[in-house]
Amino acid sequence: MDLFTFPLMLAAFGVLVGVASGLIGVGGGIFLVPYLVVLAGLSQHSAQATSLLVVLPTAAVASWSLVRRGVTDVRTPLRIGAVGVAGSVVGTLLALVLPGQALRIIFAVLMCIVGIRLLRDAVRRRAVAEPERGGELDEAPAVAPGPRA
């Protein structure tokens, strides 16, 4: 790929990641890192570092737009994020001593359970009703059987 089309391809992928990020409320690193490793040929470390630099402005711009529209306030989530910084430091240190592969697989299974539960909720809740929290709690064990561990 030549020097001109490569940045264009990156920017186009950036647009997709940005839309997904703003809509879904995540940073987008989960898409950026594999893309940078597999298609742009960066090393895992380099891809993670580069991805973080993209996540920051993406989250900032989306946040600015959402706060301005009154979807959320600033203080509550910023406080959550500030505690998150402490958690992230602990997590980075723990990553050095805990088995990363096993953690990833456990986490992937948990994500599948949550994903299926949200999809089920989306299908069941026809009208945009108040979350029926009591009902959700009662149903929770029904989702428990862990798929492919």
């Binding site: 703003g22 993209v54 994020g81 949200l118 999809l119 809740r125």
Partner: protein, 118 residues
């Protein structure tokens, strides 16, 4: 939401972010919705704001490693910033059910990506 609950959600999101190298949003959004009882839309917006300090701290740590590909970061960011405005405006208007379904699909895709990485 009580500040204790918010603190637990932030701590858990940050912990997994550091532990697995994933963004905190993947953890924080489900906790905000299923545990703190937030609307899906509000949870997505809160997660984006909470990601700012978490990723800023991570940039400070990783930035020292000097492994950033600056050209790729700039090209991706230009696109992503443009896309983020569009995504945020979609988030403001989309029905709750659609957001729930979109996040559910995202979780399954993300689970696959994480499992492949393992």
């Amino acid at each position: 939401m009580s500040s204790a609950r918010g603190a637990v959600i932030g701590l858990t999101g940050g912990l997994f972010s550091g532990l697995l190298g994933i963004g905190g949003g993947t953890v924080m959004v489900p906790l905000l919705v299923l545990w703190a009882g937030c609307e899906q839309r509000v949870a997505h917006a809160m997660s984006l704001v909470a990601i700012i300090p978490i990723s800023a701290a991570a940039v400070l740590v990783y930035g020292g490693a000097g492994e950033v590909d600056p050209a790729a970061a700039v090209a991706l960011s230009l696109g992503a910033v443009f896309g983020a405005r569009l995504g945020a405006s979609l988030l403001t208007r989309a029905p709750e059910r659609v957001l729930k379904a979109a996040f559910g699909v995202f979780m399954l895709v993300a689970a696959a990506l994480i499992a492949v990485d393992a």
